[in-house]
């Protein structure tokens, strides 16, 4: 196995090992942290499909993260208050079932990404960054000013949603759910990168003119990537809301978009396991440095600066060295 492969394996194993050790030592808080890393990494895996494979610097992915969060919050709040979402033309009830919530989150995230992407992808470069940011902010302010679901204060869900056959209130079981979804997303993203679609998408990042010349539309490739990316990030948002049993406009804020991007940059842009490394490092810093100083973001900023200036490949790049071209 190559060095990068070993590092990926270590990163992948790190989460269940940490959670397992915490279980033995009876440290539920650590399990919750590991769960948080898995969920944030999942959001990063989603963004990485757009950013790493497609080269699409989206500063609006909190929109999809938040949409997933609100999908969970809205469905669960109706279920806990026993009021249907709507009665006419047909009855839609709330739900406390995770699989149903995930499905709704994924579809809502995909549709939002389709709409936002269809408009944003007509621009490139800094305009694309600004437009995605603007869409994210629109949703943020909409959530703040929409009183039905808590407005600025957000929505609390009293009991975590259920998964058939599992006790989701048990931290280790909820961790297992989040970790399995992360593992599936990593597997899927890996397949995607090596697929025919992945070949064309990554070519469009390197040279759009080349892709057009072989008769493929970069716009369509990017749009599909953006939709998949938004759907995965929305799934992470639904899990994140379930972890906290709370959703608020903060999930839609541009700071959230920035954080998801920071996971990727810290871990290594375009690296499959980059978001796992980045999210783990981020949460670690938050809890180690955050405990030492309220100004831990300053240190995070310094670290980011160092990575961008000296270690473009992020953490994984620094450890694995330049990846050899394969096949």
């Amino acid at each position: 196995m190559s060095r990068a492969g070993l590092i990926n394996l270590a990163l992948f194993a790190m989460l269940p090992l940490t959670a397992g050790a915490a279980l033995m030592l009876d440290e539920p808080f650590i399990i919750t942290l590991a769960t948080k890393v898995a969920i944030l990494a999942l959001a990063g895996v989603g963004l990485n499909i757009a950013l790493g494979l497609g080269g699409l610097v989206s500063l609006g992915h909190a929109a999809f993260f938040g949409i997933g969060g609100y999908a969970m919050g809205i469905l669960a709040s109706h279920a806990q208050s026993f009021t249907p979402l709507m009665q006419a033309p047909f009855l839609i009830e709330g739900t406390k079932s995770m699989p149903v919530i995930w499905l709704v989150a994924v579809i809502a995230g995909a549709l939002a990404a389709l709409a936002i992407g269809a408009l944003s992808l007509r621009t490139t470069g800094v305009y694309f960054i600004m437009i995605t940011l603007a869409f994210g902010q629109m949703l943020y302010y909409f959530a703040i000013s929409w009183p039905a679901y808590g407005g600025e204060d957000g929505l609390s869900i009293w009991v975590r949603n259920g998964f058939p056959g599992l006790n989701t209130l048990d931290p280790i079981q909820f961790f297992a759910i989040a970790f399995v979804l992360l593992a599936l997303a990593l597997w899927g993203a890996g397949r995607l990168a090596a697929s025919p679609f992945g070949l064309a998408l990554q070519a469009a990042r390197q040279n759009a003119e080349r892709v057009e010349t072989v008769g493929l539309s970069p716009y369509r490739l990017r749009l599909v990537a953006f939709v998949i990316s938004g759907a995965v990030t929305a799934l992470a948002g639904a899990l994140f809301a379930d972890l906290n049993r709370f959703v608020s406009p903060t999930m839609l804020s541009w700071q959230m978009s920035g954080e998801i991007m920071i996971f990727i940059i810290l871990g290594g842009v375009g690296r499959l396991y980059g978001p796992v490394a980045g999210a783990a490092l981020f949460i670690l810093l938050e809890h180690v440095l955050g405990g030492l100083s309220d100004f831990w973001h300053v240190y995070l900023g310094l670290l980011l600066l160092l990575v961008v200036l000296f270690a473009r490949g992020g953490l994984i790049g620094a450890l694995a060295g330049r990846e050899v071209a394969h096949d």
């Binding site: 679609f197 070519a203 003119e209």
Partner: protein, 251 residues
């Protein structure tokens, strides 16, 4: 005379005050190599771009296989069968040589909406890509990263990618540049045969290659075609000698 496969009708393109394409009408007939020559900055690449898409003319039409394609995108024109190579290589530089050729085969097959199976395991695409690379003599470099290729090798890869598209007409912008004498001669022999598969509109500065290959030559100066004819006619043309060929005409 056979019906041309491709023709431009009174194409015009200006960049500010500069007339880069000035009333250009030319055609490409089945089975021929039509060379487009002219000094630097004459507007050859600009013309190719308007034919392949990516640059809209101010006036005039591009007609391919009886269909007006002037309003079509680059993607649609490529699908219709225009295979272009670039003067300044437009390749996916992080990819291997094989991956670039696979991309062409994938575009031609149109089977890009597949998300799970590894593309490198698609033996039909791979075979087509490898065959194209072999035809231009790049078969020993398949695993090489494109960024590490020499200038000339990149030109050959451009040609190989165009081959994977199985186009109905080739538009080649200086494929010989950077190849060296041996490379030019090999490619010249290859293009000589290739015209039987699809006609070639060939922009080239290598006059040995042009006079050896071209069925017809058009000379572009300041955006205008000043002469079109066989190699012998062009050699003998006084205006062409003054404007462009100069001492090269004696070669």
């Amino acid at each position: 005379m056979t019906e041309p496969l491709l023709r431009t009708e009174n194409l015009q393109k200006s960049f500010g005050a500069l007339r880069a394409t000035d009333d250009v009408s030319l055609d490409l007939r089945p089975g021929e190599i039509h060379a487009l020559i002219g000094p630097n900055g004459a507007g050859k690449s600009t013309l190719i771009k308007q034919i392949a898409g990516g640059l809209a003319p101010d006036a005039g039409r591009v007609v391919f296989d009886g269909q007006d394609v002037t309003a079509l995108s680059t993607v649609a024109r490529a699908r219709a069968g225009l295979g272009r190579t670039f003067q300044i290589s437009a390749l996916a530089m992080e990819y291997t040589v094989l991956q670039n050729a696979m991309l062409g085969a994938l575009g031609q097959a149109g089977s890009v909406w597949r998300f799970f199976r590894p593309v490198m395991g698609d033996s039909a695409l791979r075979l087509r890509a490898e065959q194209a690379l072999e035809r231009v003599g790049l078969e020993t470099l398949v695993t090489q990263r494109t960024a590490e290729l020499s200038h000339g090798q990149r030109r050959l890869l451009e040609v190989a990618v165009a081959l994977t598209l199985r186009p109905r007409a080739f538009l080649m912008d200086e494929p010989m540049a950077g190849l060296g004498t041996d490379g030019s001669q090999t490619l010249t022999a290859f293009l000589d045969d290739l015209r039987r598969e699809a006609p070639i509109l060939l922009v080239e500065h290598d006059m040995d290659a042009v006079f050896a290959l071209a069925d017809r030559i058009s000379v572009l100066v300041y955006g205008r075609i000043i002469a079109t004819g066989t190699a012998a006619e062009i050699r003998a043309n006084k205006e062409v000698r003054e404007a462009y060929l100069g001492e090269e005409a004696g070669v």
